[in-house]
Subunit: 208 residues, 2 copies
DNA sequence: AAATATACGGAACATCCGTTCATGTGTCAA
DNA sequence: TTGACACATGAACGGATGTTCCGTATATTT
């Protein structure tokens, strides 16, 4: 499968990738030929046969421009590696978290941070988590979940205000602990109405 | 320009978008026709004429699958709010900064952070900037420039080691100041060989 | 040396595919 | 009604494009 490819084959493959990316359609045999310096369509066919045999592309017989790239030679790495994440603003109580009206804007972020497709984001207000390296204005990314492990940094909803804190359950209470010695922990009795864990913080992004 | 399009035209446009996205090539007139329920190629041609007139696509005459989408009809998620940024590893002295061999991997990031297209990234090693909220393992983004203003956070090259520090020029010396009271500033005499400012830090990304 | 495989060139062929033309349908205004 | 126009069918035409067949040149193998 993972065989070596020749210079000519690599040229052809790169040309095909470029054409699909820039023009939205694969080239014809003759177009490929004139690019890689092969004058007969049969020569090009030969090159494509080799690339297909080695698993870099697939062809549909008797179809004009019937070349498809396989995942290994996909130039769409750009698309695949990113995710469009909604940034929440004020959160209207009672609405689903990702309701249109809660969404302020969208940011793109690498999938290594936004692993699940329901990841959401939040602009940080205030300095309460500064000792955890979370500053005012940072955009934090969170994975939705309604509980968390002790010590996790979570996004919690208090009324219609979302807040970022360390999560510390203590018996029948929950401590939301800031990372700033000038701030006091928030103590929540279990079952307090309007209190909810929205998710666990999994990443952050900062403009400096 | 911004005219209304009919149901049939919208169907055709969406089908074309889908085909280009999923198969990497535009459909033929007959393929479009069978999808939108128009049996003659001339009927399809009529629909495409309308879409071209209204600015949703462009066609190359006498070319199989010669349809190109204009920017306005690109699906939104691809509408590149993002940028693919190279993450540098060890930096080989004497090589251009973005030389292939310096690049460890790529990450996608929102354009609001990577504004210029020569933005580069770096994995942070060590805790020397922790009081600036820059932690070990963070990926920082920098815009290339060979000088900076006092107080800027910069990426500097010392030999083949890149380091992130506050930039504080002092007469004929340069102070590279850490944001950690347990670390000492680095003092560089002007003209020291192997010393170079690589860029100014403009953003960061963290996986938690 | 003979045989075989690789890597093309060149031309004929068959199919694909956009274009054109002749010919309806409806709808709407004059 | 009449005529103009938007929208479609169907068929025929011709250029675009993949396929096939035959040949050649070089290298590798037997």
């Amino acid at each position: 499968m993972s065989e070596q490819i020749t210079e000519k084959q690599r040229n052809a493959l790169e040309f095909i990738q470029k054409e699909i990316n820039e023009r939205g359609r694969p080239p014809t045999l003759r177009e490929i030929g004139s690019r890689i310096g092969v004058s007969s369509t049969n020569g090009v066919r030969y090159v494509l046969d080799a690339l297909e045999r080695k698993g870099y592309l697939e062809r549909s017989p008797m179809l004009s421009r019937g070349i498809e790239l396989t995942s290994r030679s996909m130039p769409r790495t750009e698309q695949a590696k990113m995710r469009l994440v909604p940034v929440l603003g004020r959160i209207a109580a009672g609405m689903p978290l990702l309701a249109e009206q809660n969404i302020e804007r969208h940011v793109t972020v690498d999938r290594s941070i936004a692993k699940s497709d329901d990841t959401f984001a939040l602009s940080v207000r205030g300095d309460s988590m500064i000792d955890a390296g979370i500053h005012e204005g940072d955009v934090i990314f969170a994975r939705p979940q309604n509980s968390a492990d002790s010590g996790d940094i979570v996004v919690a909803l208090l009324g219609d205000e979302a807040t970022v804190k360390y999560f510390k359950p203590q018996g029948d209470r929950v401590l939301l602990e800031p990372a700033n010695r000038y701030f006091s922990p928030i103590i929540i009795e279990k079952g307090t109405p309007g209190f909810r864990i929205l998710g666990k913080v999994v990443g952050l992004m900062r403009k400096i």
